[in-house]
Symmetry: C2
Subunit: 482 residues, 2 copies
């Protein structure tokens, strides 16, 4: 498909060059305009084509987005039926418009977001409508002179207050949309009430059309391939955890490997960047998730906020991996003999750290308390201690060797590394940085473990069955896969 | 004010306890319900009070938010006038509703966001209206049987396509709101067109009411205390830069100081956290800023995207400061004698790094090319090199001393530090970490310098006047202030 298009594009771009040469002798200005126009057309077609190609990739990468679009079309088509059916139209008249509008505005990608908007819209419309009618009644009592003043003042006051409430973080997180609908409905009611006598009937009709729109949205969004914000958040968190583990693995392998860098490894190493940038997505999903009813393995009051804490602890790790990554890509490196000396212990510490992360991934995916997370954490800590011990014992082997001049003469003989007489500490420095980052990462993984354990407590995860046989199998398999 | 309220609250909470004791002997159940109700009331009043208190603090911290609320109230009151004025009402009728709705939906905090929504709304309404009328004409030609099918299909297709376009990042950044309005208008036109004969007149009225609403919004948002998204972004970036400088200063001072931690210092050190979390804010502001017309010192085509790059390079620095911060708060610290040895050189390197950051802040604030940024960068690099040299020369002074047993016997005699026989490398390790982080931070500040220079080139900053006299004065003053 892409091939076909590019050949078509080439044809379009090639034509101007061809024709311009023929036309130029006849009419210079017209020819130039013609060329310019064709060139513009070519650029526009190219841009549109790129957007379409981009869209195609997005659709292929996540077919649920395509399904969402079909759902929106479906909901709108269904709500349009109200218009085409005469008896219903006779009941609702022009107010049926509000059903269409509700569907367009309220239908969101995730169930939680749709619920949030539906509930906000219904409650805010009801509250603002009631308040508007009440103020309208008061204004009616105070005579024709005062009426516009009272109505105008009330619009000013309530609109300002509701707008300000949108700046308060706790209100913004839950009722931002509701505040906007409140302002909208209140001004419409108090303004239109000035003219329309049958205010109550209009209010009734409008509320029922909005109810029709919202219930249709909720039905469509929940019945056809629902996308739950809670599931998405759950998925995002354990996916990020896996990415961190992969990055750590990639970094350490890259540092201690002996051949050139592989492409696969490089891509794997960059996973932590997603973790660094996922805060906004996590927060909006957690906001929407709490509106969702019980679904799958998640209760209505699932502790979504704890996921944010896990996310924060993961980001904390990611900062360290970022620094580790910069250590690895720095130009000054420790001499190979030193690296070899530490290679095994570092790889061991990192693989135990990764084991802990993988175990946490399994805990979250299965939503069952892990029976052997304590063992894995202890293993990780032990490996890290061994690594630190190796670092401690370094001076007695390498430094003395250097100070007695054994290695420096060797270097002089080689003539390559020794040209600058690197002092012993500068030789060890890059390695020390890597090791200390490994230690710090292990500490921060401890923070992730705590956050996940807190989640297990809050969400009342059950203990995993058959602790023994599974103890070795799933994690090892996962580790082997990566 | 707060005092008055708390006494009122106490009274409310105290009352139930008092009355319940009197009531309980007479009617247990009623008394309990009474107590429960009063308790609930108390909690609700307390919560509402907290929200109000929160709102008060927000208003005091940024009075522009209060002004924004007044602006919204004002715009709505003005647009309500259309309803109260009989000749205008006779012209527009029920369609005047659309002006109110436009104001409510389109009025945003920043000028850029308001422009974005206004332009999107007008263009999308026009496009969707034209397309809807066109399809309606086609449907009318094909007979009564086919008409609802053609209309329904077109709604389904266009709504799905427009919904999908909102998933494409480049479309989402610029036309997200427009796509929604397109769906809304198209479905309303094609659906209501089924009944209403005077489609053209309705379209004309609706477009003109929307034009009235949007132009009113633009006028109000630009004339009364405008909040420009571009200025906000500009401000955020140089504020973040200053916060980074303060954090770095705070961290290094905290590490090398000799007394206990100060509260002020601790707060100053946490500034980098704002930098870590400001990505989403920067992106949305940059998106809105490009809709803004020329204002103040910013042209229409100011390179807002470059600000995002500066933001990214600042975050890059912040990751390092985060690690530096964790080094400082770690329990294991280098012995005081070693720290003293490095204190001066580290402080010097950090103060030169801070100088560079402060110079960049001045460049951005004044929007003038700095004449002495190169000198400051060179100074920073030189100080960092000195620091590295000091680290290089460390083994010849300290390690040999240790290996010859001089210090270990000393430690044994003291009996405090020497209890674990800390190996020499473990003594230096914390300091080595801090120093290597300092070096890394200086490297990353180099990245910030490049990004700011690129901005100066793109935005055609002029060279600062009177390079010489200012060279020493403003930066030193700024450094002295902090």
């Amino acid at each position: 498909m892409a091939k076909k298009a590019s050949s078509r594009l080439e044809w379009r771009i090639n034509v101007p060059d061809g024709t311009s040469k023929v036309l130029e002798p006849e009419s210079g200005a017209v020819g130039k305009i013609w060329v310019g126009l064709k060139g513009c057309m070519g650029i526009i077609v190219l841009k549109v084509w790129r957007v379409l190609e981009n869209a195609w990739h997005i659709g292929v990468a996540d077919p649920r987005k395509v399904i969402h679009c079909i759902k929106v079309g479906l909901a709108l088509s269904i709500v349009s039926l109200f218009y085409y059916m005469r008896p219903l139209y006779d009941d609702f008249g022009g107010n049926a418009m509000w059903a269409v509008m509700t569907v367009v505005v309220v239908f969101e990608y995730t169930v939680g977001a749709t619920f949030y908007k539906c509930i906000n819209r219904v409650i805010a419309t009801f509250l603002a409508g009631a308040l508007g009618v009440g103020i309208h009644l008061v204004a009616e009592q105070s005579g024709d002179q005062l009426k516009p003043i009272i109505l105008g003042m009330s619009v000013f006051l309530f609109a300002s207050a509701a707008t300000f409430s949108r700046f308060i973080p706790s209100v913004k997180a839950r009722f931002d949309y509701g505040a906007m609908i409140f302002i909208l409905t209140f001004s419409l009611v108090s303004v239109s009430g000035y003219r329309v006598v049958e205010l109550f009937e209009v209010a009734h009709l409008r509320l029922s059309t909005i109810a029709i729109g919202t219930s249709l949205c909720i039905l469509v969004t929940m019945l056809f391939c629902p996308v739950w914000a809670g599931c998405e958040l759950h998925h995002l968190i354990h996916q990020n955890m896996e990415k961190l583990a992969d990055s750590l693995d990639g970094c350490v392998t890259e540092y201690f490997k002996e051949n050139g860098s592989e492409k696969d490894l490089n891509k794997k190493m960059q996973g932590y960047k997603c973790v660094l940038n996922s805060k906004a997505a996590e927060e909006s999903m957690a906001n929407f998730a709490r509106w969702e009813p019980t679904h799958g393995r998640f209760n209505f009051r699932h502790p979504w906020k704890q996921y944010l804490k896990i996310g924060a602890s993961l980001r904390n790790c990611a900062y360290c991996i970022e620094t580790l990554n910069s250590c690895i890509s720095s130009e000054i490196q420790a001499p190979p003999c030193l690296r070899k000396h530490f290679s095994n212990k570092c790889m061991k510490a990192s693989s135990y750290s990764i084991n802990v992360l993988k175990e946490l991934v399994i805990t979250i995916v299965k939503m069952k308390k892990s029976s052997n997370i304590d063992v894995k954490v202890a293993e990780m800590n032990f490996a890290v201690e061994e690594l630190v011990d190796a670092l401690k014992s370094l001076p007695t082997t390498h430094f003395i060797a250097t100070t007695t001049g054994e290695e420096s003469t060797k270097a002089k003989a080689e003539g390559v590394e020794g040209s600058e007489h690197p002092s012993p500490i500068m030789k060890v420095l890059p390695l020390v940085k890597v090791v200390s980052m490994m230690v710090e990462i292990a500490t921060r993984i401890g923070g992730v473990v705590n956050a996940v354990e807190e989640l297990a407590r809050l969400a009342e995860f059950k203990a995993a069955k058959d602790g023994k046989p599974k103890q070795n199998q799933p994690t090892d398999k996962l580790v082997a896969d990566h």
